[in-house]
Symmetry: C2
Subunit: 182 residues, 2 copies
DNA sequence: AGTTAGTGCTTCGAAGTTGAAGCATGTGGA
DNA sequence: TCCACATGCTTCAACTTCGAAGCACTAACT
């Protein structure tokens, strides 16, 4: 992108510093994700999505509703239904109705699921340490954590959609469906 | 992650600081990607993969081979064939044989493709600015760019796969296929 | 209570992604 | 030259992902 357009896009150009930081951030994370994916597939034969789901369950005392799970991992509801089906068939989780809310499905991690996560964690940690943590000083780590925390909180605080895209002019009296299903 | 497990959780060596930084980094990037995806779909009706491909072409003077393209964006070859088919059908790129190597397919961005990228760029930049850049000071930006550059270079320098990791007796049987395309 | 709107999850169809296999071309050694 | 192997891309089948529609249950308002 050599920026040869006269001024039609220069309204909010990014300087090289900003652009470079954005690119390298995305690229580095993409590479890290890829390595993690490989490790999990090779060692435990599960995808990183499945690992995240199991890890989340293990961390939260073993039981969550589908919605809580989907919100934790950035994931669509229908996608979660699919993955939960796989995990259940593999005997790593079980699903049951919640006593509080008859609609809710309570997902519970099994012993086998816990064992799998436990067995996979060391290798996972090793990959993260080797690829991400090793080249960072304690100071870097603090900085990075601080910065990304601020960015994440900022994003979470952002309104889902300030203005509706021009795709559908929307109904007469329906401003926003508010259903933010990733 | 309350860390109440004595030592069975295998968190050997990742203190809360490290773990938290890793998590928030992945989560923030995931959220950013999601927002970018939405913007591109709403404004230009293309996926972020397609945008990346077009942007790469635009940046590299308009012409690359399929392999060069796939390597630039972290993407499978077969997936690129599929996407290139879509982009060609949409009139955003053309494909032709290379004069140097009869096997190679030379991908060229069209005027229409260039126009689309140019038109989409401001909105894209706006999203990145609003979500990522706004909550950062100049100092943060430098720090972040510096840190992630170091991490990325470190990853690129890593050997692909020196030795197969030892398997844990936890998961279902997996013969560990060492196929590494990407 | 009765009706209306909201919430939680699943099903369904369409589209995207991948690795392995296959085809065509290029390269290096006997 | 011939042959084996490497390289570049595509095809194929299986799998994953998503959004919209649908079902079941809950909450709110009258």
């Amino acid at each position: 992108m050599t920026g040869n357009h006269p001024d039609t896009d220069g309204t909010q150009g990014l300087d090289p510093q900003q652009l470079g930081t954005y690119f390298v951030l995305m690229e580095a994370v993409s590479l890290l994700q890829h390595h993690v994916e490989q490790q999990l597939r090779a060692e435990g034969d599960i995808s990183s999505v499945q690992f995240q789901l199991l890890a989340r369950l293990a961390a939260d005392d073993g039981q969550l509703t589908m919605t809580q799970l989907a919100d934790g991992v950035v994931y669509s509801r229908s996608g979660l239904t699919y993955q939960a089906g796989l995990l259940e068939k593999a005997g790593l989780i079980t699903r049951g109705s919640s006593p509080d809310d008859e609609r809710a499905t309570l997902v519970t991690i099994t012993e086998k699921g816990l064992a799998l996560v436990g067995g996979l964690l060391p290798g996972h940690i090793q990959v993260v340490r080797r690829l991400l943590l090793d080249p960072l000083t304690d100071d870097d780590l603090r900085q990075l954590g601080d910065i990304m925390t601020r960015v994440r909180d900022h994003m979470r605080a952002q309104p889902p959609r300030s203005a509706a895209p021009r795709k559908r002019p929307a109904g007469p009296t329906s401003p926003a469906p508010a259903t933010t299903q990733h």
